[in-house]
Structure formats: C-alpha cells, structure tokens
C-alpha cells in the first residue's frame, strides 16, 4: 500500500473523486503507515483513528453524492498541529498543563477543512506552546527527523513537518510565530507556507504571540500547500484581525513562469553565520531562477540583526499574557498540592509548564513591567516598525525576497537545549517576516554532505502569496532536487 501514501495530496484526492480509490482505503493505508513509523519518529501526540473513520464514511457519502466535486483535497487524510482546537479531540499544546484538555469547539480552520472533506488523522507533536525551534520542548518527548533520527525536526511545527516527510500524513497544518512552519519544513525537506497575517483565521489557535501567530500549511510540494491554504484562508468574523481579501484561489498561481519576476537577495543574509553548504545550494537556486528569466539582484536589507531581540521581546510579552489563563481554575491540569488560591496558581503553573515556556513567560513579564516597559517593549515596537519599513522599501523594487530559511541544516538532538540563545538564532531569517506580517514559503533546495535537506525561503509582499507560489512552483519544475523517499533513504 505504500504507493498510496507516497502520492501527493492532490493526486490522492483526484483518485478518490474519480472513484479509483475509496476514502476508507486511503485512510487505512495512512493509518497503517503511522502505526509502522510513528513509534520511530513520534510525529503525533494523538491519533484519532475512530473519529477519522467516521469522517471518512461521511466524506465518501458526500463525494458519492457529487457534493465535493470542486473541493481540491476532499477525502485526503491530514494532520493538525496540537495547538489548534478540535472539538472532542484532545488539544494539548504539547504541555502537561493541557494534557487533559478537550475543546468544546472547532477552530475556524478545522470547520473549513471538515466542510471541504478533509479527514483529520490526529494532532501532531510540537514544541510546548509553540515555543522552541526543535520540537524538543514537547512534554510528550521530542520528534525525530525522518532523514536522520539523530537530528531534530525543527520547531515548533516539527511534528507536522516530520509527518509529511515520513509519509505519515499527506499534508498538515502548522502555526508560524517566528518561523515555526518554515524552519521545520526546511529541516525535514518539505514545503511550508506561512501566509500574510490576517489571511487565515486564528480563531481556535491557542495563542503564543497573537500579533505574530499565523496558521499555515505543510505539504510534499507547493501545489499541496497552495491547495490546502486555499481551503483554510478567508475572512472570519470571529477574528477581528482577519482581513477581507477578495482572492484566495492560490491554485491559480501554480504556473511555470517567472519571466521578468524581480527577486531581491539580501546580502546581509549571506554573512559568516550562514553554513557554506546552505550558501552553495542557494546560489544554485538563484541560477535556476536566472535561467528561467527572473531578475535576481543582491541588495541590503539592514535591520536583520535587530529582528531576533525585537521578536523575543514582543513574542515573550504577548506569551506571558496569553498563557496566564492556564491557572488550574477552569480547565487543564491542576496541582493536587495546594492550600488556598495562591498555591493553586503557583503550584499548577510550576508543575504544569516546562522550562522553555517558563523562561519566556518570565522574560515577557519582565519586559512589560512598569519600570522596563519603555526600555524593552516600547523599543521593540519601534524596531518592528523599522523592520516593516525596510521591507516596504525592498518591495518597492522587488516582487520577492529570496534567502535561506535557516542558517544550517537540522542540528543534532540535544545540542540546542543546552544553549537556548543558539537555538533562538536558528530563526534569524524567519522572524522578521512575522514581525512584518508578510507571506513566506520554505521549499527544499538541496541536501548537505550529511544528506540532510536544505531550505530556501521566498518572501512576498502583503497578500503576495501568488507571487511566491508561482516562483516556488517554477523552481520545483526545474530543480534536480527530488522530494524525499524514505525507503530509499534507509539504504544510505
């Protein structure tokens, strides 16, 4: 059955709609693959098998009745990052504090997916509350990179990226606050897209940093990403930051043509911090674009070095506030050891949260405290405005900004935990995109000498998703790089 799970999401959906495959048949193949591989890679926290079979029956009936003709991904099993609320299915944020939390409602993206005939396989592993760049801070244990089990998957959507790479899901939802879709996509050799802030409803996404968080998709190729993004995008009146855009037909941008497309490459991205092999792959990618008729130019973006500190101040500040609702009073874990209210709070939170989450909440509380607000938080907001301006200026000249997704390929498990600052730096190329709210995609552009995948990041203007999708699609058609084949890899 492995030939089913090796297909792309769009291929599977077509076969299901053409009655060549039954939804339940696809689902069974996928669940079998999960049973075979997940003990090894640990992409999932929860697999909701029973619920998935129920959905498969319903979707099959809708397909048979012709109800889902226009739905690109009807009948395709997919995975959801465990910080997106699913009614009746445990949603833990990979934290002890929500280890028993079963939401009473569906996130808007889940409503949309169900409506268009998706089958939800379960909830994927992640860094606790999406804080981390390796999926090692999960209360349930780390996920492992399908290319090499000794390496991390990246984070925080590491479970989602690894599930897609290991053929444990056709595509997956992730969330991206500072690179949490793109960086694991890069480490796991898959394609991940983070849309413009406000394009996808955040209703039902358990917040890490509200002004930066955005849900996006991870797929085997850009076509699956575009198709799944099309399903989940759109204005939602339940999210006041959701923006009403007219066109969400991202699949229309799957065109092999970059003639005249202006691509800017920030020279500041290629300094000492960047791994040589990553650099080489990117230069080759730039050549591909040039060969296909795009205009590729270097320019200076500046502001890059301020992005990380500004990001951590803003993200931690918002996180300290967003996570204060987990107090043991209303839901989730409550300490059994307490006398009085203050102890309920203190002990629940001390026992319920992991170290990285505590560290960020403390940083956040500190930068917001009345004595330090202006020195840190306010200053970070100003830096954010400057970063925004420098992108605006760049987009006056270019349609797309091309750069690396991460400075290196996937590090070895455990190596970043000892040095959080080093881990924070793995987001250096991704965070400024979130600060500016821009759309950005990471796609594979080669492998290093250890065989680990390298990612390229294409960033567009606000609502410029179609530009980056077209560029990614064109690149995919030319690149010698092929999507991973796990069975072949085992031979290495």
């Amino acid at each position: 059955m492995s030939e089913i799970t090796a297909m792309t999401a769009l291929e599977v959906s077509k076969k299901v709609k053409d009655k060549e495959l039954k939804v339940a048949e696809v689902l069974k193949a996928q669940l079998d693959k999960i049973k075979e591989r997940d003990p090894e890679y640990h992409c999932y926290i929860t697999v909701s098998e029973e619920e998935a079979y129920k959905q498969a029956d319903e979707v099959q009936a809708r397909i048979d009745s012709g109800d889902l003709q226009g739905a690109h991904l009807a009948g395709v099993p997919m995975a959801v990052k465990d910080n997106i609320c699913t009614e009746g299915i445990k949603t833990t944020c990979a934290s002890k504090i929500l280890s028993n939390f079963v939401p009473t409602y569906d996130a808007t993206v889940i409503e949309k997916l169900k409506k268009s005939g998706a089958i939800i396989l379960g909830k994927t592993n992640m860094d606790e509350f999406a804080m981390g760049s390796t999926t090692e801070t999960s209360y349930y244990g780390e996920a492992k990179n399908p290319w090499n089990k000794k390496h991390v998957t990246g984070g925080s959507s590491g479970g989602s990226a690894a599930a897609v790479a290991a053929e444990e899901a056709f595509y997956a939802l992730g969330s991206d606050t500072g690179g949490s879709i793109r960086q694991p996509a890069s480490y796991c050799g898959v394609t991940g897209i983070k849309p413009t802030y406000g394009t996808v409803s955040r209703y039902g996404l358990i917040a890490y940093a509200s002004s930066l968080d955005q849900i996006g998709t991870i797929g085997r190729n850009i076509s699956d990403c575009a198709a799944s993004l099309e399903v989940i995008s759109g204005h939602d009146r339940k999210d006041a930051t959701s923006i009403d855009q007219k066109s969400y037909e991202y699949t229309h941008a799957l065109i092999d043509n970059v003639k005249g497309l202006k691509i800017g490459v920030p020279s500041d991205y290629f300094d000492d911090g960047l791994d040589e092999e990553v650099k080489d792959s990117l230069f080759k990618a730039m050549e591909v674009f040039r060969r296909k008729g795009a205009i590729v130019e270097e320019f200076e973006l500046h502001s890059v070095k301020y992005a990380i500190p500004s990001y951590y101040v803003i993200a931690c500040a918002e996180a300290s506030s967003n996570l204060s609702r987990f107090d043991g009073v209303k839901y989730g874990y409550r300490t059994p050891n307490y006398e009085g209210l203050q102890e309920v709070y203190k002990n629940t939170r001390s026992e319920g949260f992991g170290d990285e989450v505590k560290r960020r909440m403390m940083i956040g509380a500190f930068v917001l405290s009345s004595g330090y607000y202006d020195a840190f938080y306010n200053k970070a907001l100003k830096v954010r405005a400057i970063i925004n301006q420098s992108f605006q200026k760049a987009f006056d000249r270019y349609d797309i900004i091309l750069g690396p997704t991460a400075p290196t390929t996937a590090p070895v498990l455990g190596s970043s935990l000892a040095d959080p600052l080093k881990m924070y730096l793995s987001d250096i190329y991704t965070v400024s995109v979130n600060l500016a709210g821009l759309p950005s995609v990471s796609l594979p552009c080669g492998r290093d000498s250890k065989g680990l995948p390298i990612g390229m990041q294409l960033t567009g203007k606000h609502f410029g998703e179609k530009d980056i999708i077209r560029a990614a699609y064109s690149y995919e058609q030319e690149a010698c790089y092929l999507r991973p084949n796990l069975d072949e890899r085992k031979v290495h």
Partner: protein
C-alpha cells in the same frame, strides 16, 4: 484644630445597556442561572478571540458627547494583566493609553452654588465574573455570567470638595446616562459603581494630600457616610501628626467605618500593553456626527420644553424629568389623552406617593401610558368620581389592573340614575329630621352632612355635584 479641605475625585463604572456582551454574542441580561450566559469567548477558553461590539463604542461615544468630551478618533484597547478566578483570561481588556473620550465636564448645583466637575477620561472595558462563597461546602464557586458585560469607566478630576457635591455629581451623571439610554444605572444591581479617591489638605494649600481609595460603593447614602468617615479619619491622623498612607480601603456601612484592603506597596503591576487581538478603532467624523444626531433630548432641554409646550409649572417639569422613565411615561400618556396638567398631577402626586410608600424607583413602574390615559378618560367622562379614581389608580399601580375593566367588574361606575339618587336622598332626609331643622335654621353644615350620608349610602359611586343639587332642591322643598 486647623481648617481642612476635602478633595475628592471619582471613578465611576457603568454597565452599558447593550443586548450582547462587549466581545461576543452572549446576552447581558442580569440574573440567570450561574454560567448560563456564557460561551467559549467570554469564558476565555484557549484559542478564542474577542470581537468588538460596535454598539459599545457608540454608547461610550454618546456618553462622552453628552459629558462634553473630545472623542479619540484613533483609540485602541490594552490588556491589564492580573490573576483572579473571576477573570478567566487572567487579563482584562481595557483602555489605558488611548481612552475613547477625554476632557469633558458637567455642571452640578448644590446649596453652595453651581460648579463644573471636570471629566478626565472615559474608557471602555469588560466586566469580570462573580465569586460565590459557599459556607456549607466551604468552597468558592465561580459564575461567569457577568464576564464580558460592557463597562465604561468615567474618571473625574479631583474637583469635588464635599459629600454633597459628590452626590450631586453622581445624580447628574446617572440622569444623563439614563436619558441617553446607555445604562439603567441600577446601583443595587451593580450597573453603576463608584470608587472614591479622597484626600484632605489644609485650606490654602496648593499640593494635594495623600489620597486613599474606597472601592465599589453602591448607594448614595453609603457614599455620603463613607466620605464623611474617611474625611474625619484622615484629619484625625494629621492632627495627631501622623501620615495618611496611600491605600485601598473598604467601607463597611454596617460598622460605619472603613478598613485597609491593600497598600501602595503591594499594589499590582498590571503590565499593560496594546491588545494584539483587536485592531485599533478608527472613529470617523461621520460616525461622530451620526451618534451626535441620534442623541436624545436631555433633561435640561426637556424641562424647558415641558413648560413651553405643555404650559406646566417649572416645579412639575422638574419632577417629571427627574427620571427618564417618568418623562417618557408622561409624554406617552399626554399623546393619548392630551391633558398634560391632569397627567402631570397623577404622576407627581399619586405616583410619587406610591413609589415612596413601596420604596420603588420610577423605572420600576409597571403600568402603561394607556392605563393612565384610560383612567383619566373615566374621570373626565364622569364614569367615576375622583375618590373612586384614586382607589382604582392604586390598583393599577400595585396590581397592574386595567382601569375600565376593574371599574366594570367591581361596579364602581358612577350612579347616574337620577330616580335612584332622588329616592335615596328622600329616605335619608326623612331619617334625619334634625338636620332638616338645622338647615332651616341657617346651619348650612347640615346639608353637607346629608350629602356625606348619601355618598356613603351610594358607596362613593355617586356624582358629588349631582347629589349636592338634589339635596339642596329637596331641602328647599321641605
């Protein structure tokens, strides 16, 4: 003892009368079984997001415009972070940096004259839930029904100098807000609550003294007593050479004293920052104009109009407009029966008497304009006399009966059968021969006695004018 001056500023929380909550579609209705008026949004479930109710902005703007404020056209919300079980998100969405209204003021009048109390700002925020302590089970339960009920907080400058001024300010504020329809301002239900900031200083001093804050006062009487108590306490401290400590105090109206709740030292750092889940609110000139145009007539205008349009005395006009509900009732009734003075009398005299007797507020009146108009019509067309009318009105007021139907059922209609009247009076005259002799001897009082006896015999249902006529006629014949 030195001469001291009291300096008072108020923070007044007002629950807005919107149908749904500030950030979700749940009802704002008071009461209701615990935790039945809530949803994932107002209980702060993980992943939920607030969406602003436009009506709240319009109500806040209406209040601001009526209080002479400037509207902040690019205002936004901020988060105020603190842990408390009745605050489910562990932060309150409020406004710190850019409140919706600023720099207003209202004129108050006390025995010492008129003065302006300046308004520093008005901001919008959400209410918290309620803790219910169960002494039997020795536990605390949480009711989230009130979570997310919209509030505006009206912050005055420290311009008041006495309890009398504070009460005048609050009464005026309440009246304006009720007239605007933005709040019912029921203190007993907590829809209007005041925090009092009070300090004292020597007369002539320019610096303010150290202030204390008394929280959540919910009756005018308690407020007046608390101000007096706190003023004395602070003066006493200063007279003994001690210092007033900046702290929050709770007034206990039963013990007639206040006690410290928390001092400045353990005051919270609320770690305010701009609310990232809500975009800034852009208020256009056109929007302000629209709210301005839909502003209802306020009390002062209404008082003048009643005197002019309905030819009412100033006294009547001031009583009728002292409550929006009473004024509305008045106007609706006049529209039905076009007898302004008559309607005014029923409202000013009988209604006021019954309200006082039953310890009710004007907005608790249950009868409808149609009922009062019908009653007036019954009197006007001689169907009942005034004595009966008062009796019927009391039934209307207390039991909400239908006047015409009640008169019919109880047989209270005036007896207009002249033959019956005449024979009754003849009988009474023959039974009271002494009165006839007295009348003949010029004692006119005797006639009054006979009229009274007749009214009594007729159980009050006779037309007193007609009875007078017949008694006189028969006496003169006798």
């Amino acid at each position: 003892m030195k001469a001291y001056e009291t300096v008072i500023g108020l923070e007044v929380h007002v629950e807005l009368a919107t149908k749904s909550k500030i950030f979700c579609g749940c009802t704002t209705q008071f009461g209701g079984e615990p935790n039945t008026h809530c949803c994932p949004v107002c209980t702060g479930m993980p992943g939920t997001l607030p969406v602003l109710n436009k009506q709240v902005v319009e109500f806040a703007m209406a209040a601001g415009l009526a209080l002479g404020c400037t509207i902040t056209q690019n205002c936004k919300f901020d988060r105020k972070n603190y842990f408390y079980p009745d605050l489910p998100k562990a932060y309150q969405i409020s406004q710190l940096y850019l409140p919706i209204c600023r720099d207003g003021g209202i004129e108050i009048e006390t025995e010492s004259g008129k003065k302006i109390v300046r308004i520093h700002e008005i901001h919008m925020e959400e209410d918290a839930g309620k803790l219910v302590h169960d002494p039997w089970e020795d536990c605390t339960l949480v009711d989230y029904n009130r979570c997310g009920v919209p509030l505006i907080e009206i912050v005055s400058e420290p311009d008041m100098r006495s309890a009398e001024e504070v009460v005048a300010y609050l009464e005026k504020l309440r009246l304006i807000l009720q007239y605007l329809g933005v709040s019912d301002c029921k203190m007993q239900e907590g829809s209007l609550r005041a925090d009092i900031n009070l300090s004292v200083r020597e007369v002539g001093a320019t610096e303010f003294g150290t202030r204390t804050e008394m929280k959540n006062m919910n009756s005018f009487k308690a407020i007046a007593r608390a101000i007096e108590g706190e003023r004395k306490r602070q003066i006493e401290l200063l007279e003994y050479g001690k210092q007033v400590i900046q702290e929050t105090r709770r007034w206990d109206d039963n013990k007639d004293t206040s006690f410290a709740m928390r001092s400045k030292e353990d005051a919270q750092d609320y770690r305010y920052f701009p609310e990232p889940d809500l975009p800034p609110i852009e208020i256009s000139d056109a929007w302000i104009e629209k709210v301005k145009a839909s502003q209802p007539e306020l009390r002062d205008e209404k008082m003048l109009r009643y005197q002019k349009e309905f030819d009412l005395p100033a006294y009547d006009a001031s009583i009728l407009t002292a409550s929006r509900h009473l004024a509305d009732l008045f106007e609706a009734t006049v529209a039905l029966c076009s007898k302004p003075k008559e309607v005014s009398n029923w409202l000013m005299v009988e209604t006021m008497r019954l309200l006082k007797e039953m310890e009710m507020e004007a907005d608790e009146i249950r009868f409808k304009p149609t009922q009062l108009a019908e009653l007036i019509e019954l009197v006007d067309s001689n169907k009942i006399n005034r004595t009966v009318a008062k009796e019927v009105f009391e039934k209307v007021f207390k039991e909400n009966v239908n006047p015409a139907q009640y008169v019919e059922e109880k047989g209270l209609g005036m007896v207009s059968d002249d033959g019956l009247l005449r024979s009754t009076i003849e009988r009474i005259i023959s039974e009271n021969s002494q009165s006839v002799i007295d009348y003949k001897n010029g004692k006119t009082k005797a006639m009054g006695f006979l009229v009274g006896q007749t009214m009594k015999e007729m159980k009050g249902k006779a037309d007193p004018g007609r009875v007078n006529e017949i008694v006189k006629e028969l006496l003169d014949l006798a």
